[in-house]
Symmetry: C3
Subunit: 116 residues, 3 copies
């Protein structure tokens, strides 16, 4: 099966497509870093939309999402954005946990696996 | 490749089957929430058995498991159930870590990827 | 699709190959346990190289890596080894988080999914 890399950097790629499966790197906020979980989650799901589009897919084909929150008490705040973003009838499997992330300005990180 | 969703909810699905690969959402205790790691682990592996059966698979085909414990000192207690649950000769790859979960009554969460 | 298990133990396997996808268990240091993040990361990526070779693959085909650090302030130290290990043009998608691991002598754990 073919391997196609998207957004290839010296340390990691934004996504790697293997046959019909897309592995998207954990996305963290860029312009909203340091802002609210609402703002960061909204930016992150937009980033995922863009990466999936570049890989020839979209959010109706997400298979699994891992969501990392630096403060699990923001679970509801993250879900308020998540719940309006996911497409009814096409919701992915998911795991959510609290974890410290690579820099304090990041409050949310989301990694997804999707079908092409 | 086809995408089949199992236990589709408004926020997430219990599992998503993509071709021959099954992504099972992180499972947490239901009736044993708040009880011991032994009890919760036993209930969770039963939940995974049921989901895999619904997807047309079983525990001999688990490829990878991620196990989250809210207190890593319960590693042995979780493994006591795990070790009797897995099928010898068919043990999955695995990663176990400590992480705070979405509610304090959950002490264990297990997400698996399996073959169909 | 075929399932092939590598390093099958009573609790887990070192890796499971499903068709063209290889799921490598979270690797922790062996001889360098208790030593620096530099030492442990170097040993771990060597372990991954060996497991991928046994599965008929190599580091140019890694699709996704999850990196667990017990102290996220060692992110730079881990990356110093990582950056020289990955093959330019073939970098995987990745997520890194802080998490307590199964024993205090482990400071790093890396799990990868790779193509065959």
């Amino acid at each position: 099966m073919s391997i196609q890399r998207i957004g290839v950097g010296p340390r990691m790629s934004k996504a790697v497509v293997h046959g019909n499966t897309i592995y998207v790197a954990g996305q963290v906020a860029d312009t909203t870093a340091g802002q609210s979980v609402t703002d960061q989650t909204r930016e992150i799901v937009g980033m995922i939309d863009a990466i999936l589009a570049e890989a020839g897919s979209d959010k109706t084909k997400i298979l699994f999402a891992t969501i990392y929150l630096t403060d699990i008490s923001t679970f509801g705040e993250m879900n308020a954005i998540w719940d309006t973003w996911v497409v009814q009838g096409h919701t992915p499997a998911r795991a959510t946990l609290e974890a410290k992330l690579v820099a304090p300005q990041y409050k949310v990180e989301i990694a997804v696996t999707a079908a092409k």
